[in-house]
Point group: C2
Chain length 250, copies 2
């Protein structure tokens, strides 16, 4: 992991006055799925608690290493950039960013210093005083008619954006496919055309646009080598069922 791991080690997730222990556990799980591990709890109503452990579901280590503080100030000691997560921007002159923008700011800073992502209590969020201790606000875009994200869901979205923003993070679509080469695909089309003619499905005197349509269809699927081999195997087997054996194909 190298630099990446180092950056994530500099990020603390701070939950202010969480009231439901289940949300603490679910937040720990959300953090761990994205590779975050430093949880700070400011005056949790119930912690430790069996419900927190149950909902952590494999992320109990995050709960065990969590730091319980009396005040938000205690939880922020040593941090140099603090980002407050709120449901909607208040009438304050803070910089406001969506989670993607906030993730970039946090990771840029986490290269050299400690940063904190601060979440409020379930029902009412962060107080103006708590927001005042942060330099940046992040707002998760939401349905104006119902913007109440569950606390652990908010942690999940922010942690996901941090993970997505990590420079080394590659798009999973980068999965190496072993695509067929141009020649392999052309041989397949020739094989297909011959077979279609042979079985009487394609009239070479009046081909219309059949092969063009076939090409369009297979082009969209971006054929892999093994798939071309399978298709050509099918064509070979199809040829065995020629009319002279007495079997109809179509």
């Amino acid at each position: 992991m190298g630099t990446v791991g180092h950056r994530f080690e500099n990020i603390r997730i701070v939950l202010c006055r969480p009231t439901h222990p289940g949300n603490i556990g679910a937040s720990a799980r959300a953090m761990k799925t994205m590779g975050l591990s430093r949880l700070y709890l400011v005056s949790p109503k119930h912690f430790p608690h069996p419900e927190a452990t149950a909902r952590a579901s494999g992320a109990e280590d995050v709960l065990e290493k969590s730091v319980v503080c009396e005040t938000l100030d205690d939880a922020l000691i040593g941090a140099q950039l603090m980002v407050a997560v709120t449901a909607r921007p208040r009438d304050l002159s803070h910089e406001v960013h969506d989670p993607r923008g906030a993730a970039r700011i946090l990771l840029d800073e986490a290269v050299r210093s400690e940063v904190a992502l601060v979440f409020g209590t379930e029902m009412s969020g962060l107080t103006t005083e708590e927001i005042g201790k942060c330099q940046v606000i992040s707002t998760i875009p939401a349905n104006p008619a119902y913007s109440s994200l569950n606390l652990a869901s908010a942690v999940q979205v922010m942690a996901y954006e941090l993970k997505m923003t990590l420079p080394e993070e590659m798009n999973p679509s980068g999965k190496a496919l072993d695509l067929a080469t141009f020649e392999e695909i052309e041989h397949f089309y020739q094989h297909l055309e011959k077979t279609l003619v042979k079985i009487g499905f394609l009239d070479p005197e009046e081909p219309k646009r059949l092969m063009q349509r076939m090409r369009r269809l297979f082009a969209r699927s971006r054929l892999e080598k093994t798939e071309v081999n399978i298709l050509r195997g099918i064509l070979r087997d199809l040829s065995k069922y020629s009319p002279d054996t007495g079997n109809e194909i179509v």
Copy 2:
């Protein structure tokens, strides 16, 4: 909402064989926070259930409108693009996209047709057969050592990306700030400089770079009109405490 609302109305969220009713409720809540409303449940173990209702917490309407089906096939009737959400790409030749890429594909298609986002059962995810009914796979990037997102958390991340990808969705940092004008800021700097000289903090014979540093500091904060007024108010009051009254300032 116009086109946007229309696109979201064409998106169904399909949960295959959910075992915990709490996750159904939490998924409904996650959907509603992002403006999605069409929930399909394939053979839920327990539904309806008080735990589902409790965790929906304001999204009971999504549960009430949900469609319960016996098979995934039933849930997909009428859909034209099906995206399977899996923890890790299988050895299948599906197109694989991260949630951002999948959101783009889904929204492009939802302009004209019905689309479905399909989630598997809690412990084991989607079966190969279920994935086989979808054209595209989406994988949420996760910690390789612990990739087990809670079902509702996975729904939240995908719904969030759909919301973020909506073309009309503006970055919330677009909040209109009432910034001070150039002249207002220059008058403030003049006022500040005079005050600093007056109180003896700034030696006009040897100013060094003090004002330059002040400018840099305030430039970073992008001052608003009201803030300039407050700062100038402070300067006015500071001037009252001149040395000839016998009070030291610094």
